[in-house]
């Protein structure tokens, strides 16, 4: 299996990279870990004239706390999320979401930025990132902008990113969340995409749920918030019946398709169960 021909660039600065992308147009793409873009090119699912490698932009690999929250560089690999002290301290839920991804080799190469810009509905990180209120910084030739990750995805393989823009970082501003996690169901424990995934983040005050975010993956064209289910929980004392109701509502809100990994009905039922389980964990176990 060989790769078709393309031009290769490895600019030394972010500004140079954006200028190159602007000059080359939509037939060029960023090369981060390459686990997605190279396999698509090999399988002729994607035809490109150029790849602009961001391997020299080492500043994009940082994961740090900055007093106002946590910032994750777009080129951080999945394994570097697992090992990052800033995340282990604040959001171990992100470390655990990364642990559920792919296999060790892919986690050593695949990046957080690639996982999002890819915009595959089954991608594992976006649901939890959205639940935790992440924003993305996009840098292009005409400046930079910050977009909530929730508004980033527009469809399968489609996002708001412009051809000359590079996603540089994920910003997690401090929020009052008391717990969060991501639960994934896949057909094997390793190297398998999600049949369905649910992330939740909650703000608890004693046994009252002040706020809840529920984000579902692999059950709609983009990661999807179960807003009605979130409403059911808001300001309520948590009971088994309430969680049951939230699970049922989320199952009704998702828009799954049937494919080789699971039927629509099966996915809805997974969402019902995963929502309940994920909420229960967020409520009682913190960020896990």
């Amino acid at each position: 299996m060989y790769l078709p021909d393309f031009e290769y660039y490895a600019p030394a600065t972010l500004a140079e990279a954006c200028e190159l992308l602007a000059k080359l147009g939509p037939k060029a793409k960023v090369l981060a870990g390459g686990t997605d873009v190279l396999s698509k090119m090999k399988q002729e699912q994607l035809s490109l004239e150029a790849l602009v490698s961001i391997k020299k932009l080492d500043e994009l690999t940082e994961i740090k706390s900055n007093g106002k929250g946590v910032v994750i560089g777009a080129r951080a690999t999945h394994n570097s999320l697992i090992d990052a002290p800033a995340l282990q301290e604040k959001y171990p839920s992100i470390c655990n979401a990364a642990k559920q991804m792919a296999n060790n080799q892919i986690r050593n190469t695949g990046t957080v930025g690639g996982n999002c810009v890819n915009a595959v509905p089954s991608a594992d990180l976006p649901p939890l990132f959205i639940a935790l209120g992440a924003e993305v910084k996009l840098v292009g030739t005409s400046g930079e902008r910050v977009v909530p990750l929730e508004d980033f995805f527009t469809g399968p393989n489609e996002t708001v990113i412009k051809p000359d823009e590079i996603l540089t970082e994920f910003i997690f501003k401090d929020q009052p969340f008391t717990g969060s996690n991501y639960l994934k169901f896949s057909l094997r424990r390793s190297g398998a995409l999600a049949v369905a995934g649910v992330a939740t983040a909650v703000v608890m005050d004693g046994d009252v749920c002040k706020e809840a975010r529920i984000v579902m993956g692999a059950v709609a064209p983009t990661p999807l918030r179960a807003k009605e289910a979130e409403e059911i929980l808001k300001g309520q004392k948590v009971t088994d019946e309430l969680l049951e109701e939230a699970g049922n509502r989320a199952a009704a809100e998702c828009k799954p398709i049937s494919d080789l990994r699971g039927s629509e009905e099966y996915r809805r039922d997974l969402v019902r169960v995963l929502t309940k389980r994920s909420l229960r964990k967020s409520i009682s176990e913190g960020h896990v």
């Binding site: 490698s53 060790n104 080799q105 892919i106 390793s190």
Partner: protein, 164 residues
Amino acid sequence: MQAIVDQSGIKYYVVTLNVNGGSYTKIVRANTLLVNALREELDLTGTKKGCELGDCGACTVLLDGKPVNSCLVLAVEADGREITTIEGLDKEGKLDKLQESFIENTAIQCGYCTPGMILSGKALLESNPNPTEHEVRRAIAGNLCRCTGYVNIVKAIMAAADKQ
């Protein structure tokens, strides 16, 4: 990294591949995969190709000490980085403890998965000298074996850890 254009307009890159302690200057194309550079340019055919899509781990090499699938890495991206292949594990003709352990525990049948398995196991033992069985299984989850059923492979890695 220097680029050269030949008479017919085809572009090549001069890369430095630091493999198994040696440094090699090679001329590759933008679309040359690391696995092909190792096998075809450096004659290091211990690194195998299976799925070529990141699923099977037959092409596993260590890049700066970490296991990666060399079928999904461009040779130009590996320029200047440290690469270890299965050929780099023995020292002065003596097999690595992990290689010996694979032989002692009959962890090899056809042998196709073995280079990748051993490199994944080696990277694990470097960072975690006393892994649990669960940690061993997680470390080799990206290496598929069609022959052994994994039991002896896990045993071999655990046994090598005990001997360290």
